[in-house]
Protein backbone atom coordinates (compact mmCIF):
# COMPACT_ATOMS: atom_id res chain seq x y z
CA UNK A 1 0.00 0.00 0.00
CA UNK A 2 2.98 2.33 0.06
CA UNK A 3 3.81 2.28 -3.63
CA UNK A 4 2.97 5.48 -5.50
CA UNK A 5 -0.16 5.40 -7.56
CA UNK A 6 1.66 6.19 -10.74
CA UNK A 7 -0.64 5.45 -13.56
CA UNK A 8 -3.82 7.02 -12.35
CA UNK A 9 -2.21 10.29 -11.43
CA UNK A 10 0.10 10.43 -14.36
CA UNK A 11 -2.39 9.68 -17.04
CA UNK A 12 -5.84 10.61 -15.79
CA UNK A 13 -7.24 8.32 -18.43
CA UNK A 14 -8.37 4.74 -18.68
CA UNK A 15 -6.10 2.33 -20.43
CA UNK A 16 -7.57 -0.99 -21.35
CA UNK A 17 -5.19 -3.72 -22.31
CA UNK A 18 -5.39 -5.52 -25.59
CA UNK A 19 -8.81 -7.12 -25.88
CA UNK A 20 -7.60 -10.71 -25.63
CA UNK A 21 -5.58 -10.01 -22.48
CA UNK A 22 -7.54 -7.31 -20.67
CA UNK A 23 -9.45 -9.62 -18.33
CA UNK A 24 -6.32 -11.60 -17.53
CA UNK A 25 -4.50 -8.37 -16.71
CA UNK A 26 -7.17 -7.56 -14.20
CA UNK A 27 -6.82 -11.03 -12.71
CA UNK A 28 -3.09 -10.63 -12.50
CA UNK A 29 -3.63 -7.48 -10.46
CA UNK A 30 -5.57 -9.47 -7.87
CA UNK A 31 -3.44 -12.59 -7.67
CA UNK A 32 -0.39 -14.08 -9.38
CA UNK A 33 -1.27 -16.02 -12.50
CA UNK A 34 0.65 -18.76 -14.21
CA UNK A 35 0.18 -17.36 -17.71
CA UNK A 36 3.36 -17.54 -19.79
CA UNK A 37 1.57 -16.20 -22.84
CA UNK A 38 0.46 -13.12 -20.94
CA UNK A 39 3.92 -12.59 -19.49
CA UNK A 40 5.46 -12.79 -22.92
CA UNK A 41 2.93 -10.32 -24.23
CA UNK A 42 3.50 -7.91 -21.35
CA UNK A 43 7.18 -7.86 -22.16
CA UNK A 44 6.49 -6.39 -25.58
CA UNK A 45 3.23 -4.43 -25.15
CA UNK A 46 3.37 -1.00 -23.54
CA UNK A 47 -0.40 -0.64 -23.68
CA UNK A 48 -0.96 -3.77 -21.62
CA UNK A 49 1.74 -2.79 -19.13
CA UNK A 50 -0.01 0.52 -18.48
CA UNK A 51 -3.37 -1.21 -18.18
CA UNK A 52 -1.88 -3.69 -15.75
CA UNK A 53 -0.45 -0.87 -13.61
CA UNK A 54 -3.84 0.81 -13.52
CA UNK A 55 -5.56 -2.38 -12.48
CA UNK A 56 -3.04 -2.94 -9.73
CA UNK A 57 -3.58 0.60 -8.47
CA UNK A 58 -7.33 0.10 -8.63
CA UNK A 59 -7.09 -3.09 -6.58
CA UNK A 60 -4.95 -1.31 -3.99
CA UNK A 61 -7.35 1.61 -3.78
CA UNK A 62 -10.39 -0.64 -3.51
CA UNK A 63 -8.61 -2.53 -0.72
CA UNK A 64 -7.84 0.74 1.06
CA UNK A 65 -11.39 2.00 0.51
CA UNK A 66 -12.86 -1.11 2.08
CA UNK A 67 -10.66 -0.79 5.15
CA UNK A 68 -12.04 2.71 5.61
CA UNK A 69 -15.27 1.03 6.49
CA UNK A 70 -14.65 -1.15 9.56
CA UNK A 71 -17.63 -2.86 11.13
CA UNK A 72 -19.01 -0.73 13.95
CA UNK A 73 -18.87 -2.12 17.49
CA UNK A 74 -21.51 -4.74 18.14
CA UNK A 75 -24.84 -3.39 19.31
CA UNK A 76 -23.86 0.26 19.59
CA UNK A 77 -25.95 1.95 22.25
CA UNK A 78 -28.14 4.52 20.55
CA UNK A 79 -28.53 7.36 23.00
CA UNK A 80 -30.55 10.48 22.89
CA UNK A 81 -29.55 12.25 26.02
CA UNK A 82 -31.84 15.23 25.63
CA UNK A 83 -31.44 18.55 27.39
CA UNK A 84 -29.94 19.00 30.84
CA UNK A 85 -33.32 20.03 32.28
CA UNK A 86 -34.99 16.95 30.90
CA UNK A 87 -32.26 14.67 32.22
CA UNK A 88 -32.45 16.32 35.64
CA UNK A 89 -36.23 15.92 35.73
CA UNK A 90 -35.90 12.26 34.75
CA UNK A 91 -33.30 11.65 37.46
CA UNK A 92 -35.49 13.34 40.09
CA UNK A 93 -38.53 11.34 39.06
CA UNK A 94 -36.54 8.11 39.15
CA UNK A 95 -35.27 8.93 42.64
CA UNK A 96 -38.78 9.64 43.87
CA UNK A 97 -40.12 6.41 42.45
CA UNK A 98 -37.24 4.45 43.99
CA UNK A 99 -37.77 6.08 47.38
CA UNK A 100 -41.51 5.36 47.25
CA UNK A 101 -40.82 1.74 46.35
CA UNK A 102 -38.40 1.32 49.26
CA UNK A 103 -40.88 2.85 51.72
CA UNK A 104 -43.71 0.72 50.39
CA UNK A 105 -41.86 -2.57 50.76
CA UNK A 106 -39.80 -1.77 53.85
CA UNK A 107 -42.19 -2.98 56.62
CA UNK A 108 -42.90 -6.30 55.01
CA UNK A 109 -39.55 -6.87 53.38
CA UNK A 110 -38.67 -10.56 53.28
CA UNK A 111 -35.92 -12.33 51.44
CA UNK A 112 -37.14 -13.01 47.93
CA UNK A 113 -37.46 -16.66 47.08
CA UNK A 114 -35.40 -17.58 44.07
CA UNK A 115 -37.09 -19.86 41.64
CA UNK A 116 -35.47 -23.27 41.72
CA UNK A 117 -34.07 -25.18 38.82
CA UNK A 118 -36.69 -26.98 36.81
CA UNK A 119 -35.82 -30.53 35.68
CA UNK A 120 -37.78 -32.55 33.13
CA UNK A 121 -36.23 -36.01 32.78
CA UNK A 122 -37.41 -38.50 30.20
CA UNK A 123 -38.32 -42.03 31.21
CA UNK A 124 -35.35 -44.10 32.34
CA UNK A 125 -33.23 -41.01 33.00
CA UNK A 126 -31.22 -40.71 36.20
CA UNK A 127 -31.00 -37.17 37.57
CA UNK A 128 -29.98 -36.50 41.16
CA UNK A 129 -30.85 -33.18 42.79
CA UNK A 130 -28.59 -31.74 45.48
CA UNK A 131 -30.62 -28.81 46.79
CA UNK A 132 -32.16 -26.20 44.51
CA UNK A 133 -28.87 -25.26 42.85
CA UNK A 134 -27.25 -28.46 41.70
CA UNK A 135 -28.35 -31.38 39.57
CA UNK A 136 -26.32 -34.33 38.36
CA UNK A 137 -27.42 -36.19 35.25
CA UNK A 138 -25.95 -39.66 35.05
CA UNK A 139 -27.79 -41.21 32.16
CA UNK A 140 -30.62 -40.73 29.72
CA UNK A 141 -32.12 -37.44 28.55
CA UNK A 142 -33.42 -34.50 30.51
CA UNK A 143 -34.38 -30.90 29.88
CA UNK A 144 -33.29 -28.23 32.37
CA UNK A 145 -34.70 -24.75 32.85
CA UNK A 146 -32.28 -22.62 34.82
CA UNK A 147 -32.80 -19.13 36.21
CA UNK A 148 -29.42 -18.21 37.68
CA UNK A 149 -25.81 -18.83 36.80
CA UNK A 150 -25.08 -20.25 40.26
CA UNK A 151 -27.30 -23.22 39.45
CA UNK A 152 -25.29 -25.92 37.78
CA UNK A 153 -25.99 -29.13 35.95
CA UNK A 154 -23.19 -31.65 36.18
CA UNK A 155 -22.70 -34.08 33.33
CA UNK A 156 -20.00 -36.70 32.74
CA UNK A 157 -18.33 -34.14 30.43
CA UNK A 158 -18.44 -31.17 32.80
CA UNK A 159 -20.64 -28.47 34.29
CA UNK A 160 -23.30 -26.41 32.50
CA UNK A 161 -24.80 -23.17 33.76
CA UNK A 162 -26.44 -20.00 32.55
CA UNK A 163 -28.67 -17.07 33.38
CA UNK A 164 -32.23 -17.78 32.31
CA UNK A 165 -31.88 -20.58 29.79
CA UNK A 166 -33.35 -23.89 28.73
CA UNK A 167 -31.37 -26.83 27.42
CA UNK A 168 -31.50 -30.58 26.99
CA UNK A 169 -28.73 -32.98 27.91
CA UNK A 170 -28.59 -36.47 26.44
CA UNK A 171 -26.12 -39.10 27.59
CA UNK A 172 -25.63 -42.05 25.33
CA UNK A 173 -23.09 -44.36 23.84
CA UNK A 174 -21.13 -42.80 21.02
CA UNK A 175 -21.35 -46.01 19.07
CA UNK A 176 -24.82 -47.07 18.02
CA UNK A 177 -25.31 -50.72 18.81
CA UNK A 178 -28.00 -52.48 16.78
CA UNK A 179 -31.19 -53.16 18.79
CA UNK A 180 -31.23 -56.52 20.56
CA UNK A 181 -27.46 -56.86 20.63
CA UNK A 182 -26.87 -54.61 23.59
CA UNK A 183 -25.57 -57.27 26.05
CA UNK A 184 -23.13 -58.53 23.42
CA UNK A 185 -22.26 -55.16 21.97
CA UNK A 186 -19.15 -53.68 23.43
CA UNK A 187 -20.00 -50.25 24.79
CA UNK A 188 -17.98 -47.39 23.41
CA UNK A 189 -17.16 -44.13 25.18
CA UNK A 190 -19.93 -41.99 26.61
CA UNK A 191 -21.32 -39.15 24.52
CA UNK A 192 -22.83 -36.07 26.15
CA UNK A 193 -25.02 -34.08 23.78
CA UNK A 194 -26.19 -30.58 24.65
CA UNK A 195 -29.03 -28.90 22.81
CA UNK A 196 -29.68 -25.26 23.72
CA UNK A 197 -33.31 -24.18 23.40
CA UNK A 198 -33.09 -20.69 24.94
CA UNK A 199 -30.51 -18.39 26.49
CA UNK A 200 -26.74 -18.72 26.45
CA UNK A 201 -25.29 -21.79 28.13
CA UNK A 202 -21.77 -21.70 29.51
CA UNK A 203 -19.66 -24.67 30.47
CA UNK A 204 -16.34 -25.61 31.94
CA UNK A 205 -16.03 -28.39 29.40
CA UNK A 206 -12.72 -28.55 27.60
CA UNK A 207 -12.43 -26.93 24.17
CA UNK A 208 -15.68 -25.06 24.71
CA UNK A 209 -15.05 -21.68 26.24
CA UNK A 210 -17.63 -19.69 24.28
CA UNK A 211 -21.25 -19.93 25.46
CA UNK A 212 -23.67 -21.78 23.22
CA UNK A 213 -26.76 -20.02 21.91
CA UNK A 214 -30.28 -21.12 20.95
CA UNK A 215 -30.40 -23.85 18.35
CA UNK A 216 -26.83 -24.97 18.88
CA UNK A 217 -26.03 -28.62 19.47
CA UNK A 218 -22.71 -29.98 20.63
CA UNK A 219 -21.59 -33.47 21.50
CA UNK A 220 -18.64 -34.28 23.70
CA UNK A 221 -17.10 -37.70 23.87
CA UNK A 222 -16.08 -38.76 27.35
CA UNK A 223 -13.52 -41.57 27.42
CA UNK A 224 -14.65 -43.02 30.73
CA UNK A 225 -17.59 -42.33 32.95
CA UNK A 226 -17.96 -45.06 35.53
CA UNK A 227 -21.17 -43.64 36.97
CA UNK A 228 -22.91 -43.38 33.62
CA UNK A 229 -21.59 -46.72 32.47
CA UNK A 230 -22.79 -48.51 35.57
CA UNK A 231 -26.18 -46.87 35.80
CA UNK A 232 -27.10 -46.83 32.15
CA UNK A 233 -25.25 -49.12 29.83
CA UNK A 234 -25.39 -52.22 31.98
CA UNK A 235 -29.12 -52.02 32.40
CA UNK A 236 -30.84 -54.79 30.43
CA UNK A 237 -33.14 -53.55 27.67
CA UNK A 238 -36.82 -53.57 28.55
Amino acid sequence: MTEPIRSIHANHANHDGCAEFDEQLMELAVQPLAAPELEAHLAICERCRRAHEQYRDTVRIVGAALTLRPAPPARPAARNRGSFGRRAATALLTSLVAAAAILWFWPSAEPALRPSMSVHPEQGTTVQLFGPDRAVIESGTSTFVIAHSDMVVETPAGRLSCDDCEFTVEISECRNCPPGERPACEPGPVCVTLFVAAGLVGSDIREQSAPLGPGQILTWSVPSSPVAALTHFEQPPE
Partner: protein, 170 residues
Amino acid sequence: MKPEPAARSGSDPRFDPGPWQAELRAFLARMGACDDLDDLVQETFLRAVRKPPEGPARAYLYQVALNLFRDRGRRLERGVRVLEGAARIDHRASVDPADTVERRDLAERAWRLILTLPDHQRAALILRIDRQFTYREAARVLGCSEATVRQHFYLGMKAVRAVIAGVPHD
Protein backbone atom coordinates in the same frame (compact mmCIF):
# COMPACT_ATOMS: atom_id res chain seq x y z
CA MET B 1 -37.31 -30.90 23.87
CA LYS B 2 -35.19 -33.75 22.65
CA PRO B 3 -33.30 -32.64 19.54
CA GLU B 4 -34.57 -33.89 16.23
CA PRO B 5 -32.22 -36.41 14.61
CA ALA B 6 -32.20 -34.32 11.44
CA ALA B 7 -31.11 -31.28 13.41
CA ARG B 8 -28.08 -33.11 14.70
CA SER B 9 -26.10 -31.98 11.72
CA GLY B 10 -26.17 -28.63 13.53
CA SER B 11 -23.67 -30.08 15.97
CA ASP B 12 -21.12 -29.53 13.24
CA PRO B 13 -18.54 -27.18 14.75
CA ARG B 14 -18.58 -25.24 11.50
CA PHE B 15 -21.70 -23.55 12.87
CA ASP B 16 -20.11 -22.16 15.97
CA PRO B 17 -20.78 -18.43 15.45
CA GLY B 18 -17.56 -17.46 17.21
CA PRO B 19 -15.12 -17.68 14.32
CA TRP B 20 -17.55 -16.25 11.77
CA GLN B 21 -19.19 -13.40 13.58
CA ALA B 22 -16.51 -10.73 13.08
CA GLU B 23 -15.93 -11.81 9.50
CA LEU B 24 -19.60 -11.59 8.56
CA ARG B 25 -19.99 -8.25 10.33
CA ALA B 26 -17.07 -6.83 8.38
CA PHE B 27 -18.45 -8.18 5.11
CA LEU B 28 -21.91 -6.76 5.71
CA ALA B 29 -20.51 -3.41 6.85
CA ARG B 30 -18.55 -3.21 3.63
CA MET B 31 -21.65 -4.10 1.67
CA GLY B 32 -23.27 -1.03 3.25
CA ALA B 33 -25.25 -2.44 6.18
CA CYS B 34 -25.46 0.02 9.06
CA ASP B 35 -27.99 -0.11 11.86
CA ASP B 36 -29.29 -3.57 11.04
CA LEU B 37 -25.84 -5.17 11.02
CA ASP B 38 -26.22 -7.21 14.19
CA ASP B 39 -29.72 -8.33 13.27
CA LEU B 40 -28.46 -9.52 9.89
CA VAL B 41 -25.62 -11.51 11.44
CA GLN B 42 -27.93 -13.07 14.02
CA GLU B 43 -30.49 -13.97 11.38
CA THR B 44 -27.75 -15.48 9.24
CA PHE B 45 -26.77 -17.92 11.98
CA LEU B 46 -30.39 -18.77 12.77
CA ARG B 47 -31.01 -19.65 9.14
CA ALA B 48 -27.79 -21.63 8.91
CA VAL B 49 -28.76 -23.69 11.96
CA ARG B 50 -32.28 -24.26 10.66
CA LYS B 51 -31.09 -25.31 7.22
CA PRO B 52 -27.53 -26.64 7.38
CA PRO B 53 -25.59 -26.38 4.14
CA GLU B 54 -24.35 -29.23 2.00
CA GLY B 55 -21.25 -27.40 0.81
CA PRO B 56 -18.60 -25.36 2.59
CA ALA B 57 -19.90 -23.42 5.59
CA ARG B 58 -18.04 -20.20 4.80
CA ALA B 59 -19.53 -19.65 1.37
CA TYR B 60 -22.95 -20.66 2.66
CA LEU B 61 -22.89 -18.19 5.54
CA TYR B 62 -21.81 -15.40 3.19
CA GLN B 63 -24.59 -16.37 0.80
CA VAL B 64 -27.23 -16.26 3.52
CA ALA B 65 -25.89 -12.96 4.84
CA LEU B 66 -25.84 -11.42 1.37
CA ASN B 67 -29.37 -12.61 0.59
CA LEU B 68 -30.64 -11.17 3.85
CA PHE B 69 -28.87 -7.91 3.13
CA ARG B 70 -30.41 -7.77 -0.32
CA ASP B 71 -33.86 -8.56 1.05
CA ARG B 72 -33.68 -5.72 3.50
CA GLY B 73 -31.98 -3.21 1.26
CA ARG B 74 -34.68 -1.34 -0.57
CA ARG B 75 -33.46 0.92 -3.31
CA LEU B 76 -34.77 4.11 -1.73
CA GLU B 77 -33.35 3.19 1.64
CA ARG B 78 -30.01 2.41 0.01
CA GLY B 79 -29.78 5.97 -1.29
CA VAL B 80 -29.97 7.24 2.28
CA ARG B 81 -27.47 4.63 3.37
CA VAL B 82 -24.93 5.65 0.78
CA LEU B 83 -24.89 9.18 2.15
CA GLU B 84 -24.65 7.91 5.71
CA GLY B 85 -21.88 5.53 4.76
CA ALA B 86 -19.90 8.23 3.06
CA ALA B 87 -20.26 10.49 6.07
CA ARG B 88 -19.22 7.80 8.51
CA ILE B 89 -15.87 6.94 7.02
CA ASP B 90 -13.49 6.37 9.87
CA HIS B 91 -10.30 8.24 9.13
CA ARG B 92 -8.48 6.54 11.98
CA ALA B 93 -8.87 3.21 10.26
CA SER B 94 -6.29 3.98 7.61
CA VAL B 95 -4.08 0.95 7.04
CA ASP B 96 -0.83 2.80 6.65
CA PRO B 97 0.03 5.88 8.70
CA ALA B 98 2.31 7.02 5.90
CA ASP B 99 -0.61 7.34 3.50
CA THR B 100 -0.79 10.63 1.80
CA VAL B 101 -3.84 12.85 1.85
CA GLU B 102 -4.15 12.22 -1.84
CA ARG B 103 -4.23 8.48 -1.39
CA ARG B 104 -6.86 8.77 1.30
CA ASP B 105 -8.90 11.05 -0.88
CA LEU B 106 -8.76 8.46 -3.64
CA ALA B 107 -9.83 5.74 -1.24
CA GLU B 108 -12.75 7.83 -0.06
CA ARG B 109 -13.85 8.50 -3.60
CA ALA B 110 -13.55 4.81 -4.32
CA TRP B 111 -15.56 3.92 -1.25
CA ARG B 112 -18.35 6.29 -2.17
CA LEU B 113 -18.42 4.79 -5.63
CA ILE B 114 -18.38 1.22 -4.37
CA LEU B 115 -21.48 1.96 -2.33
CA THR B 116 -23.33 3.06 -5.43
CA LEU B 117 -22.45 -0.05 -7.45
CA PRO B 118 -25.11 -2.72 -7.96
CA ASP B 119 -25.09 -5.24 -5.10
CA HIS B 120 -23.60 -8.07 -7.15
CA GLN B 121 -20.74 -5.92 -8.48
CA ARG B 122 -19.99 -4.58 -5.01
CA ALA B 123 -20.12 -8.08 -3.56
CA ALA B 124 -17.81 -9.41 -6.29
CA LEU B 125 -15.23 -6.70 -5.54
CA ILE B 126 -15.41 -7.28 -1.78
CA LEU B 127 -15.27 -11.05 -2.06
CA ARG B 128 -12.35 -11.10 -4.49
CA ILE B 129 -10.21 -8.25 -3.18
CA ASP B 130 -11.04 -7.95 0.50
CA ARG B 131 -12.07 -11.52 1.35
CA GLN B 132 -9.75 -13.32 -1.09
CA PHE B 133 -12.50 -15.65 -2.32
CA THR B 134 -11.90 -17.66 -5.45
CA TYR B 135 -14.35 -17.23 -8.30
CA ARG B 136 -15.85 -20.59 -7.44
CA GLU B 137 -16.49 -19.55 -3.83
CA ALA B 138 -17.79 -16.16 -4.90
CA ALA B 139 -20.12 -17.83 -7.38
CA ARG B 140 -21.53 -19.95 -4.58
CA VAL B 141 -22.14 -16.85 -2.48
CA LEU B 142 -23.76 -14.91 -5.29
CA GLY B 143 -25.74 -17.88 -6.55
CA CYS B 144 -24.54 -17.60 -10.15
CA SER B 145 -21.89 -19.04 -12.46
CA GLU B 146 -18.18 -18.30 -12.23
CA ALA B 147 -18.36 -16.56 -15.59
CA THR B 148 -21.05 -14.24 -14.26
CA VAL B 149 -18.97 -13.41 -11.19
CA ARG B 150 -16.03 -12.60 -13.45
CA GLN B 151 -18.26 -10.26 -15.37
CA HIS B 152 -19.49 -8.54 -12.20
CA PHE B 153 -15.94 -8.18 -10.97
CA TYR B 154 -14.73 -6.86 -14.32
CA LEU B 155 -17.48 -4.24 -14.51
CA GLY B 156 -16.98 -3.20 -10.88
CA MET B 157 -13.25 -2.77 -11.40
CA LYS B 158 -13.79 -0.73 -14.55
CA ALA B 159 -16.28 1.51 -12.78
CA VAL B 160 -13.95 2.17 -9.86
CA ARG B 161 -10.99 2.78 -12.09
CA ALA B 162 -12.93 5.20 -14.27
CA VAL B 163 -14.19 7.27 -11.40
CA ILE B 164 -10.82 7.38 -9.66
CA ALA B 165 -9.22 8.53 -12.87
CA GLY B 166 -11.89 11.19 -13.23
CA VAL B 167 -13.13 9.80 -16.49
CA PRO B 168 -16.78 8.88 -16.87
CA HIS B 169 -17.30 5.17 -17.43
CA ASP B 170 -19.91 3.50 -19.59
